[in-house]
């Protein structure tokens, strides 16, 4: 029983991280029609700035996060302006491939800055746990896991409020709905593009910080970020609530597999939990080709 609860706790905190990264994908996709494969690299670069300011310059952790958020937003805006603006109106897939190219370039820079070994992010949580003893077992909840969940919930709530109640949020929703109509209504679509890249980049950075929290940040974090892909595909590419549900599904599926597969289905091999998100994605797409909450494309000839 405690083992099961432990898996649920781990899954939920994993889901919080996936949700942060996946939200960035969805925001960029919704407002700019760009599918951003460069997200893992942006995450790594953003999280590196936290590592740099917190452990090299030795600023307080929160100041480092704020500074990194500023730099991450700036990086997002610059990338959008330089490489994606010329591609407005080009086929979605050409742009997606372009972001793969971007990913390789940014990744090289980020990995070079980061170095080979895992770097501590200078977080205040460390390896401390809340431990609960009951039913003959103990349930360990790391401070980091709680922090990840709380941060994700706060950020998501803040974003949803922003989209729903602010003027600029409305402009972003209008641009996501129809760029040309939004333009004619006086919405600055370029500002919307810049803002969505900045927001997504910051979200990825925060996700990266939690990924790197106790063991340290290294290149493997980029592979974890790639698992945000099944998350958003399960939820539907253009649905924010879908991304949250997808994150929960993938996080729990992965944590449960991680806990039970080695004992009960050993033939599936080591690290099977790592590919479970992709399996879930296959199954969901076979039943619902546009994900759980995605808009079905209606085409005319």
């Amino acid at each position: 029983m405690t083992q099961f609860l432990q898996a649920l706790v781990n899954g939920t905190s994993l889901a919080a991280i996936y949700a942060l990264i996946a939200l960035g994908f969805v925001i960029i996709y919704k407002s700019t029609q760009v599918f951003n494969f460069a997200h893992p690299a942006l995450m790594l670069l953003g999280a590196y700035w936290v590592v740099y300011f917190a452990t090299v310059v030795r600023w307080p952790f929160w100041a480092a996060v704020l500074m990194a958020a500023g730099l991450a937003a700036l990086t997002g805006v610059i990338i959008e302006r330089l490489t994606l603006r010329p591609m407005v109106g080009k086929p979605v897939f050409a742009v997606a491939i372009l972001t793969i190219g971007l990913n390789t370039v940014i990744m090289i820079i980020a990995l070079n800055l980061l170095g080979i070994s895992a770097r501590p992010v200078g977080d205040p949580w460390g390896l401390r746990f809340f431990t609960f003893e009951f039913l003959g077992g103990s349930l360990n909840i790391a401070h980091r896991q709680v922090a990840a969940l709380v941060t994700a919930v706060l950020l998501v709530a803040a974003l949803l409020t922003f989209f729903k109640y602010t003027r600029f949020g409305l402009a972003m929703r209008a641009a996501a709905f129809d760029q040309e109509v939004a333009l004619t209504q006086g919405v600055s679509v370029t500002a919307v593009f810049a803002a969505s890249w900045a927001i997504a980049s910051v979200l990825a950075m925060v996700g990266g910080v939690f990924l790197g929290a106790p063991p340290g940040l290294d290149r493997s974090a980029a592979f974890v970020a790639l698992k945000a892909l099944p998350v958003i595909v399960i939820g539907g590419l253009d649905s924010i609530s879908g991304a949250l549900v997808g994150a929960l599904i993938v996080g729990l599926a992965e944590a449960l597999t991680f806990t039970y597969q080695p004992q009960h289905a050993e033939f599936l091999g080591r690290d099977f939990a790592q590919v479970v998100p992709y399996l879930v994605m296959f199954l969901v797409l076979l039943v619902r080709p546009y994900g759980l909450f995605g808009t079905k494309e209606i085409e005319r000839v």
Binding site: T83, M87, V95, G101, V275, Y278, P289, E297, V301
Partner: protein, 400 residues
Amino acid sequence: MRRRPGLIADYRSDTAILRNNVQRFWFTVLIVALVVLGLGGTIPLVPGLVDFSLKGDLLLLGVSALFASIGAIGLNIVTGYAGQVSLGHAFFLGLGAFTAAVLGGTEVTRQVFDISTGQSVEKTVLVGYGLDMIIWLPAAGLVAALVGLVVSPIAFRLKGLYLAFVTLGLVFLGEHVFREADAYTGGAGIGRETAAASLLGFRFDRPGEVFGVSLSRQQKMFFLGLILLVVMALVAKNLARSRIGRALAAVRDRDIAGEMMGINLARYKMIAFVVSSFYAGIAGSLLYAAIGRIEPSSFNLLLSIRYIAMVLIGGAATVAGSIMGAVFITFLPRIVKWMAGLWIFGFISESPTGGFPNLAQVEQILFGGLIVGFLIFEPLGLYGIWIRIRNYWKAWPFSY
């Protein structure tokens, strides 16, 4: 007509593979040049100034480029001609490579001490049947094609980005299977020897005399690759200009309109996937047979992206473009190495560990930058550049 060889008056000559005498001439020149290169000769690119020959490691790169071209043509059939973006090409290459390795490779056994009986027993560590190339080469293609057939129903249901993600998931699942099936693949980080390239007793993997000319192992592989590439390229070209090719183009350009005209979408998407996987299987088996060793984790997302880059940089929906792209991407490490020797690029450090932009990093950055650059400035790829140069000189000195 006899006096106007350039005039195209009917559909037959419009769709001919080599449309006029100029093309026929240069195609012959190219083949002769490749044969000379394969025999170890030197081609003067600019007579007296720049020579080119395939010596040493360049020969292995040349062999790899030929087989990679077959793989790139395969990806181009599904992505360029049929417009179904597949990020799963690495998986099909891997299937071909491992099928060949299992069928054509040698069995490895090890003495294992059995505790219960107290005797040591022979245990198979790696499965290998040691079959001839005439079996493992088609089998590699067929196994990949069969898996392509199984996957294609998903492709029929999905479109665009969703299809790209499913094929991307395929790579991750495939990588996992390759890593875990260590009786067949050798396991992660270890790998295994590949199939012995022996065709009905003729050894491509040993140096020897052919028609009185003594050839090295790689030279033999080069000619095998050249012959196969010409055959596979002609087959692809023919496919593209047949009924199937026109149907694929319709699926790519406007699938619903195509369906209205009576094109069975499921059928043609399936054909595209199966043919593409077959090419990938053949390419994978021979590519790694030329290198000699394969390792499961090399069939990752990066390899798929390399092939996508070949198709995009070369030119989507062109066979010549796929070949140009494959050759270019395969030779990219060499080009970077050559660049590092020039004084302008003196900042590139040649040691693998020291300095920020070392060779591998510059190669990666150039690779990413080229994808970005080609998509923004020349969506038709190298083939498009070639067409523009050709048209410029055709009309020279008049601009129209």
